[in-house]
Symmetry: C4
Subunit: 191 residues, 4 copies
Amino acid sequence: MTKGRLEAFSDGVVAIIITIMVLELKVPHGEDLESLRPLAPVFLAYVLSFLYVGIYWNNHHHLFQVVHVIDGRVLWANLGLLFSLSLFPFGTAWLGETGFASLPLATYGVILLAAALAYYVLVRTLLRIQPAEARLAEAIGPDTKGRISPLIYVLGVAVAFVAPWISFALYSVVALLWVVPDRRIERTLVR
Amino acid sequence: MTKGRLEAFSDGVVAIIITIMVLELKVPHGEDLESLRPLAPVFLAYVLSFLYVGIYWNNHHHLFQVVHVIDGRVLWANLGLLFSLSLFPFGTAWLGETGFASLPLATYGVILLAAALAYYVLVRTLLRIQPAEARLAEAIGPDTKGRISPLIYVLGVAVAFVAPWISFALYSVVALLWVVPDRRIERTLVR
Amino acid sequence: MTKGRLEAFSDGVVAIIITIMVLELKVPHGEDLESLRPLAPVFLAYVLSFLYVGIYWNNHHHLFQVVHVIDGRVLWANLGLLFSLSLFPFGTAWLGETGFASLPLATYGVILLAAALAYYVLVRTLLRIQPAEARLAEAIGPDTKGRISPLIYVLGVAVAFVAPWISFALYSVVALLWVVPDRRIERTLVR
Amino acid sequence: MTKGRLEAFSDGVVAIIITIMVLELKVPHGEDLESLRPLAPVFLAYVLSFLYVGIYWNNHHHLFQVVHVIDGRVLWANLGLLFSLSLFPFGTAWLGETGFASLPLATYGVILLAAALAYYVLVRTLLRIQPAEARLAEAIGPDTKGRISPLIYVLGVAVAFVAPWISFALYSVVALLWVVPDRRIERTLVR
């Protein structure tokens, strides 16, 4: 089974997710600066989610650079990732409209956790059937970032009810951590 | 005629269908748990439809793995399938907003039937022109699942007016039945 | 310049156009048959437009089967076609919501005319630079359907203000005429 | 790292951006000519933005014709461009709904500037790693258009508060300037 359509379908779904989030930036009713102000948190939430969805797309891209065999289970593991990513527009809109309230921040953290878990399952499902399993495993390496991120998400969920902006800061820090592309796989590929 | 663009176009349409369904998960007006509650049936309907659309994409993917020749009739049979799938967002939203009322459940069953019929027509249209028709037919096999599913949909439509939740259970059982990828075609491909 | 991305981009735009039209099928507020009734004209308009956009996609597909060279002008001619197709969701929604009133029917005819003109310009722009121009011209042939359709659209626009349903019937007849795939090009390809 | 998925993903995002802008063309409540009138500025804004997004897609297409190597930084530079393009639907809708008011016109100019800057960063990021850097640089040439456009955008932003329609005229002139495809790269490719 070739990976071409899985990649194309994933690209399509992620492209739509990343783009419909911007629909939350609703046109202000006025035409002065004052009418733009309520959009500030909505825009901030959009930027954060654009980064996260971009990160997942980049990592998906990197991952499938070194993957050559897929099967029916991989299709479903991949759909699991796309499902969790499809919850971003909801989480983002709720964050933005409530101005980063506690429960929306915690919900956002749960969505981040779901996506991280789904990505982990996808990687495991792929490793199971790769002929050069060793190489992919090596390319992924000890994956420190991948292990720390969920812990910070959990922290963010907990902290959301006490100090919302710390929760937001935690999610942002993880995003920035990942914006650095996954050099480990690139390095392995170059060798 | 090559199948590349048919696959790409189908991937695009299915990607959009699966993603716009999530737009029904409308942002709650409040920011407490209470305001999330009305979303429960909407979310449940989304999960069910995500599974169904995912199943059709997977089966489409499997099917075109063993298909190499297409013609104008196949393009239209495929558009027929995409048309019936495009009714999922409507059916799903109606299910969710009415909390799985009788008529919406029956309508959903009719959409499931339409999609099953359109898929059947697509397979027949493809079989007609495949050089290695025998191989595809063998790959598809006796197709027990494909024959039982429409019967259960019909049952679901009828039962919707008496015991709505049994109707929902029937649709869910069929979905779970199909989440197991179509191993028959995979098996044939491996040989 | 390769045609791959032009095809992929066109597939994407057409896939979105065909899918967002279904968003007009708004969820009824009630849950009985009565609440479905106002959707009948909306659904009918959707079916007609799905056919038309499907026809354009199929013809685009057939056309680019025999095209191998593109240039900057072709990109813009193609964007012209995509622009005119992007007006279908508006035209369709207006048709459906007014129950096929006169001005919406005339507007729909103007959109059909614009799409036909844009497709004609695209074909001419392609013919200009094809090495095997003769073969493409032959594949396209006398193109009787392509010449008659705009005339019927004009008739439909005029008749819309007198007898709306005749206008609708005219548009439908042209659509059915085109659902038969363009066998001329297929025939040439087989030779 | 191959450029195929970057192109496919960009095609998907741009296709969605260009298509959701048309959703602002909301169905009029009446069915006479009078009810169409408020749509005139919305339509005009849509045409302008369709041109701009079309220009970016064409230039992206031309650019990646001569690009063969990408890396993680290119992925992010490209996401930066897609992010700035994703603000077009917002800017366009605000323009249209306010009938080209001053602040919306200035905001639109800022979005144009952001896109121009993001495109510039993408080109630089690509040049850094191309083996045949010289050829790409030559293909891009002195890039007079690329240097003048941002200056006109800045002028448009400033003028928006004094003479809105001059601002609109400036943006339109730049668009028309770019509709002529980038013949420099085409020329180099032909050699």
